[in-house]
């Protein structure tokens, strides 16, 4: 297992390297506003822009620029924002808890809603419950999160004059639990709609598959209670594809969080990345891409490791 993890981490490092190089180059070749012009600001003369380019190291060969940035990453210096001159590391540190909490809450809602309803749908196949779950799942998959987020924001405000705290900054859970939940549950629920729908459908199909297996019939013939049969033998064995999808969904949610954080005014990494992309804030975009890459690599590793727990027959070498 250890060898496997080390090997996966090495492969992950290579992936991250390729990713960072690609983003680094793409950012520099796409047309658009020059970051040196941005830094130089209003009334900037061509000399001023030249000076800004020099200060930002944009005149150096790409290899040198890339190495400067990468060595900074390893030494904890993530650079300074082109736009507001603030250290990127400080910004990430301040915003990470917001996105992390949003992701965790989304994951919880996805699991709590997706798996039980998926199980119910499989167990009571072709019943009204099953139809209800399947229709809901299709709705959840079809509705884009930005649209749902806007509705969740606007409709309660119009009907009942209620909205979650907007522009209130990060309400820390340890300071104000109720305020924190008011702030995070609506966006997490919006993000979870799509992923829970996917998990519901997958749980249903996967569990149906398992329920048809011979060993399930044997267990039932031995007189095992239906609940134990489904939970202990059926559900656990059907979870491998679900866990895989959950891992992928969590990685994909980083993208969804960009929009949802904007709409619900959560000062997280999603909104931060979006602004940086728009402003061509090189150091921020590069760092955030690396961060997203690391998240995906680690989530995938975690998913792979979890297989061994879910199915003891799986061995890594």
């Amino acid at each position: 297992m250890q060898t496997y993890i080390v090997r996966r981490l090495l492969i992950g490092a290579i992936i991250l390297f390729v990713l960072s190089v690609a983003v680094f180059i793409l950012l520099r070749i796409v047309p658009g506003s020059d970051p040196a012009e941005l830094r130089c600001g209003l009334n900037c003369t061509p000399e001023g822009i030249k000076q800004a380019r020099e200060e930002m190291g944009l005149n150096d060969p790409y290899v040198v620029q890339y190495w400067d940035w990468l060595s900074g990453v390893f030494t904890g210096d993530l650079g300074t924002s082109v736009v507001n001159f603030r250290p990127v590391g400080d910004s990430i540190k301040a915003r990470f808890p917001v996105t992390f909490e949003l992701m965790v809450l989304t994951l919880i809602i996805t699991i709590v809603v997706g798996i039980p309803f998926g199980v119910a749908s499989a167990v009571w196949k072709n019943s009204p419950i099953d139809y209800g779950v399947r229709v809901s799942a299709i709705f959840g998959l079809a509705v884009p999160s930005f649209w749902l987020a806007t509705l969740v924001l606007i409709l309660p405000a119009t009907w009942w004059g209620y909205a979650p705290p907007l522009g209130a900054g990060y309400i820390h859970i340890e300071e104000d639990l109720w305020g924190n939940l008011k702030q995070f549950v609506p966006p997490a629920a919006v993000l979870a709609v799509g992923s829970a729908a996917g998990v519901m459908r997958l749980t249903r199909s996967s569990l149906l598959e398992v329920l048809r297996q011979d060993y399930m019939r044997t267990a039932r013939a031995k007189g095992l209670a239906e609940r134990a049969l489904i939970v202990r033998h059926g559900l656990k064995n059907s979870l491998i594809p679900v866990v895989t999808v959950l891992g992928l969904q969590m990685a994909g949610l980083l993208g969804g969080a960009i929009i949802v954080e904007q709409i619900f005014t959560l000062p997280g990494l999603g909104a931060f990345t979006f602004e940086a992309l728009f402003r061509k804030d090189f150091p921020v975009v590069q760092t955030m891409t690396l961060y997203a890459g690391i998240t995906v690599v680690l989530l995938n590793l975690l998913v792979d490791i979890s297989y061994a727990w879910l199915d003891p027959r799986i061995r890594y070498s």
Binding site: P31, G32, G41, N43, N84, S91, G161, L166, G167, E275
Partner: protein
């Protein structure tokens, strides 16, 4: 300010109008503001003339309460000499100017750090520095002392060293020399020659005075997230992406003479919330989380106000879309083609279809600038909608019925109703004999090309122009910021236009200036302008009913007036 507009778009994609409007009670980019369904009449701003508030039925001022503002843009810095976007609207809250004049209400003057000035000649201003303009408590270690003339000298000297400073164009061009008197109670500003817009420039938020201790090497970097000034408020904290909290400056010098010399401001503070999504800002206002909201359109504001007790302030907006033609690229080098474009545009159609009648056509100077714009009847002649005349001009210039043009525009912009203007505009050009090859571009690409004049013509987004200097400079060969950026002025073709613009700027008598400005516009129309502002709309700003004594009729000068209060009883 033209540059800051585009920097701002690049950074935040909101209009400066919104940044400023959200910054204060004033509805900052306003022209003639009036209150609908709220007490009228004028009220004093605290002793310096002008009409700083709506007064009237708002009753006796109440102390306390906090004012919540949504800002679609984040603060980039609290250094007024390099700050743009949201920050600019808050510099008047934190710092002081020598004096501020409203470009919209010429009777309004707000002496702040200066109590007055003398003018031994047209190019010299000697300001008397007010005693008791005391720095607020702050985290930068700046002593709570009174500002003096030396602070002004240090501040403006610093601008000179910053080529990127918003104020650099003004200071570098118009500050010939300056000095503080020995007792530091007088500050002298020497211009190289008389300059009509001096009063507008010196009172701008980007020329506010920061105490010299805050501009030391040790502190300058800290201005990214901290501030120390002697303005009405002090910065308690700022969190990137979240917002800023401003508290009342207990040292603020100003008192309300009309209310037992009560110290201003009345409110305890302002909470500036960074809310980038428009629907979220509106929702936050609807649910009482914000004190103020400006609708995207008049209709939106009216709809939102239905059945509510909001105070409505309707004002003309100093912003517009413009058609820009590169005067050195064919076919726009020919004045007949430029004039044909002018006659092909039916400005009233934009007024009716884009703004539901809540807008007016612009000339070379946009109409919210008041009587500096040409009278309506004259404009109707200079820029009449006459596609037949447009076609005749094209035929005369090319010998053909149509002329082929390539027009770029930002493809994905919804700013200032751009997407609604575009199809109408394209149809009008077609009807006027233009065979348009469309060139939609991603915003960043468009901006790059627009900035560097890498295009033939464009339907362009433009910014707030609160005073007429920018309208004039758009026609100048060096462009609106006089740095050759965005420079499509026909001064490139007619040096006499450049000379006339510079001459007019040197006229200091208001009446004479107005006449000269009118004459300048006539000359430009006769030569075929390459920069055509289309229409400027109205906007309605909504305030929660508890916001009282809203400054009105003074535009951005409202940011300096702190006689408003909150009454949530």
């Amino acid at each position: 300010m033209a540059g800051s507009y585009w920097d701002k778009f690049t950074k935040q994609r909101i209009s400066r109008r919104r940044a400023l409007q959200s910054a204060g009670v004033a509805g900052a980019a306003a022209g003639a503001i009036w209150v609908v369904g709220c007490g009228g009449g004028d009220d004093d701003d605290g002793g310096n003339g002008g009409n700083g508030g709506n007064g009237g039925g708002d009753g006796k001022p109440v102390r306390g309460g906090r004012y919540s503002v949504g800002s679609a843009a984040d603060f980039d810095t609290f250094d007024p000499y390099i700050g743009i976007a949201a920050s600019v609207g808050y510099f008047p809250r934190l710092y002081n100017v020598l004096v501020n004049y409203s470009a919209l209400d010429t009777s309004f003057e707000f002496f702040d750090l200066a109590t007055g000035y003398e003018q031994p000649d047209d190019a010299t201003y000697i300001f008397t520095i007010r005693d008791g303009v005391k720095v607020s408590p702050n985290a930068l270690g700046v002593p709570e002392r009174n500002l003096d003339a030396e602070d002004v000298v240090v501040a403006y000297d610093r601008i000179k060293t910053l080529p990127q400073s918003n104020a650099a164009a003004f200071i570098n061009k118009w500050l010939a020399s300056h000095e503080a008197s020995t007792d530091k109670r007088q500050y002298t500003f020497n211009l190289p020659s008389p300059y009509y817009f001096f009063r507008n420039r010196i009172g701008s938020p980007i020329n506010t005075v920061v105490p010299k201790e805050a501009l030391t090497d040790a502190n300058i970097g800290k201005l990214r997230s901290q501030a120390a000034g002697a303005g009405p408020f002090m910065l308690r904290d700022y969190a990137e992406g979240t917002g800023a909290t401003l508290d009342r400056n207990p040292n603020y010098y100003r008192r309300d003479e009309s209310n037992n010399n009560e110290q201003l401001p009345y409110i305890d503070g302002m909470d500036v919330k960074i809310i980038t999504d428009r629907a979220a800002i509106r929702t936050a206002f609807q649910t009482g989380q914000l004190s103020v909201y400006t609708g995207e359109t008049v209709d939106e504001s009216l709809q939102l106000a239905q059945g509510q007790n909001y105070t409505q302030v309707k004002d003309p907006v100093n912003t517009f879309l413009a058609f820009t033609m590169h005067p050195e690229k064919a076919p726009w080098t020919d004045e007949r083609i430029r004039k044909a474009a002018n006659f092909a545009i039916n400005r009233q159609e934009f007024v009716d279809k884009v703004y539901n009648g809540e807008a007016q056509a612009n000339g070379i100077f946009h109409w919210p600038l008041g009587d500096l714009a040409l009278p309506e009847d004259e404009l109707e002649e200079f820029q009449r909608y006459d596609p037949a005349e447009a076609k005749a001009l094209i035929r005369a210039a090319t010998g053909q019925d149509t002329v082929k043009i390539k027009m770029m525009y930002p493809a994905e912009s919804t700013i200032e109703q751009h997407s609604l203007h575009l199809p109408i505009f394209l149809q009008q050009l077609k009807d006027g004999g233009f065979d348009v090859e469309e060139d939609p571009q991603a915003f960043g690409t468009w901006l790059d090309n627009y900035t560097n004049l890498n295009y033939e013509c464009s339907l362009a987004l433009n910014q707030v122009y609160e005073y007429a200097e920018f309208n004039m400079d758009w026609q100048h060969s060096e462009g609106p910021a006089r740095n050759n950026i965005y420079a499509v002025g026909i001064g490139k073709l007619y040096p006499e236009i450049d000379e006339e613009i510079d001459r007019v700027k040197g006229i200091t008598d208001p009446e004479e200036f107005k006449e000269a400005v009118h004459e300048l516009q006539r000359t430009i129309f006769e030569k075929g302008p390459a920069f055509l502002p289309l229409v400027s709309p109205y906007a309605i700003t909504l305030y929660q009913p508890y916001v009282k004594n809203i400054p009105q009729g003074i535009g951005a000068s409202g940011l300096y007036v702190n006689t408003w209060w909150i009454d949530q009883a």
